[in-house]
């Protein structure tokens, strides 16, 4: 009896054994599961005191907007945040996992986490899965060595940049960065440039929309500005907004409290074993 096939040690990465069976089922008419994507605009830039990250807030499921106000700027460490584009589950899972690993590392070393640590943990994981974990990330933070901004691609390659954009709206946002970025921006200039770039993504890319989230990280201090700008408010045709119409006039009000169906006896018989 050959047991050699069953005795193989478990390998890393995804198990693709069911792919052939799934293809066969699809050919027979089974519709594949759809998944939530954050077709997105995410940006980051380095300004004179640190890093500013920005993101839009639309999550799409194919052609439908599944979440109008999702959070794409994920917490990694008190001094490191990460924006995620691609499959929402993948970006959430990967950033959560690395955030926990960083916390454990902080306990182990007794020091503040460094951005390169998060970078290396993320790129190791993504490379291991050969691009099947579809998470494209913009990682930014300030540690003892200074401010850092990196982009991480689904296959595991990374870039170290002064300004970066990712997601379906990245071209629109990058066109604004390329024309307006300069070194040594102040905090307000940096925030307004990030907001402009995200708005370019929101208004010119169909996969991005709704509001603008901004996160400013400086040495020893961070500011998470959730919904910093809301350029797409819900508008009503009637300037007074929507009010429910009053159909019936109330003539008299009589309130009868409902009687309790069960009487609770204090200190009654104990329940049977």
């Amino acid at each position: 009896m050959s047991k050699s096939v069953l005795d193989l040690p478990p390998k890393g990465g995804f198990n693709f054994d069911l792919c052939r069976r799934n293809d066969m089922l699809e050919k027979k008419g089974l519709k594949p599961q759809s998944f939530l994507k954050t077709g997105t605009t995410i940006v980051g830039l380095i300004f004179q005191d640190g890093v500013i990250l920005g993101a839009d807030t639309r999550a799409t499921e194919g052609p439908i907007v599944a979440d109008k106000n999702c959070e794409k700027i994920h917490y990694m460490a008190p001094n490191i945040y990460c924006c995620g584009a691609g499959t929402a589950a993948d970006t959430e899972a990967v950033t959560d996992m690395v955030s926990s690993q960083l916390q454990l590392h902080r306990y182990h070393t007794g020091r503040e986490s460094r951005v390169v640590t998060a970078l290396t943990l993320l790129k190791k994981h993504l490379f291991n899965y050969q691009g099947y974990v579809q998470a494209a990330l913009v990682l930014g933070g300030v540690d003892v060595t200074g401010p850092h901004l990196h982009t991480i691609y689904p296959h595991g390659s990374t870039d170290s940049l002064p300004y970066a954009t990712m997601g379906s709206g990245s071209l629109a946002a990058m066109s604004l960065f390329e024309s307006k970025y300069k070194e040594g921006l102040t905090r307000d200039e940096g925030i307004s440039l990030v907001v402009e770039a995200i708005c370019a993504g929101i208004f010119n890319d169909l996969g991005s929309g709704s509001n603008v989230d901004v996160c400013v990280i400086t040495k020893g201090h961070k500011e998470y500005l959730r919904n910093h700008l809301q350029p797409n408010p819900r508008t009503y045709v009637n300037p007074k907004g929507f009010t429910f119409p009053k159909k019936t006039e109330v003539l008299s009000t009589k309130i009868t409290p409902l009687k309790e169906a069960v009487e609770v006896i204090e200190g009654g018989d104990a329940m049977e074993e």
């Binding site: 380095i46 951005v115 390169v116 970078l119 790129k123 060595t145 200074g146 850092h148 990196h150 390659s157 990374t158 870039d159 170290s160 940049l161 002064p162 071209l171 629109a172 990058m174 066109s175 604004l176 390329e178 024309s179 070194e183 402009e196 370019a200 208004f203 010119n204």
Partner: protein, 232 residues
């Protein structure tokens, strides 16, 4: 009808031009394109003029297959010649040229033999400015600012933000240069040899080529892997 006829259909482009960007300004239309013709991933030709005046009132810019662009110029030559032969004091304006090109492109597409181009048609006639676009599948529209190819993704967000009706010539050129610079940075088939053309009620001018200044002195670019050894 056999395999002989099949091999004469356009299946893919060979020598291509990159994006064209055009805007309406106070006195007329401004159009910009670079002068590169790429043969796949090599930059084969560096002096292709992709902006051509058509008749008295129109300017045509093209991206995509250069041989199809030259064919279109021959069609338009014939069109303008026949129009002039009428000698009736009327001349074809940009709207008419746009309509003609739309019909040509759409009909070729229906025969599965497209002219592999995205065309920008701009002009001024009787004081009315017109700027339109038609592409290889026959989609056509007109707007205050248009772009082809990657220009749609990189240049139009800038134009939507910063275009207004009363741009002067200098402001318009500055805006177009801004767009062409972003394209130069981020489009792999772009070339740093730009031509700008303007058309007003008085006539067409295609300016001589020039190159854009680019900035590479960010301190982060000098040593990109300083903070993350092993990346770039």
């Amino acid at each position: 009808m056999g395999s002989g006829a099949d091999s004469e259909r356009t299946l893919y482009p060979y020598v291509t031009g990159s994006s064209v960007v055009a805007i309406k300004y106070k006195d007329g239309i401004l159009m910009a394109a670079d002068m590169g013709g790429s043969y796949g991933s090599t930059l084969r030709y560096k002096s292709i003029e992709r902006l051509k005046p058509i008749g008295k009132h129109t300017l045509l810019g093209a991206s995509g297959e250069i041989s199809d662009f030259q064919e279109i110029l021959r069609f338009l030559d014939e069109l303008i010649l026949n129009d002039n032969m009428w000698d009736d004091g009327n001349s074809l304006g940009p709207k008419e040229v746009h309509n003609y090109l739309t019909r040509v492109m759409y009909n070729r597409r229906n025969k599965f033999n497209p002219l592999w181009n995205s065309l920008v048609i701009g002009g001024v006639k009787n004081g009315q400015k017109y700027l339109g676009m038609v592409n290889m599948i026959g989609i056509n529209f007109n707007d205050n600012h248009v772009a082809t190819g990657l220009g749609n993704h990189l240049a139009r967000p800038i134009l939507r933000d910063e275009w207004n009706e009363n741009l002067t010539f200098e402001e318009g050129v500055k805006l177009l240069e801004k767009c062409m610079r972003v394209l130069l940075y981020r489009d792999r088939s772009a070339v740093n040899k730009i031509q700008i053309a303007k058309i007003t009620e008085e006539g067409t001018t295609v300016f001589p080529p020039f190159s854009l200044k680019t900035y590479w002195e960010f301190s982060a670019f000098k040593n990109p892997a300083a903070s993350a050894v092993g990346s770039w």
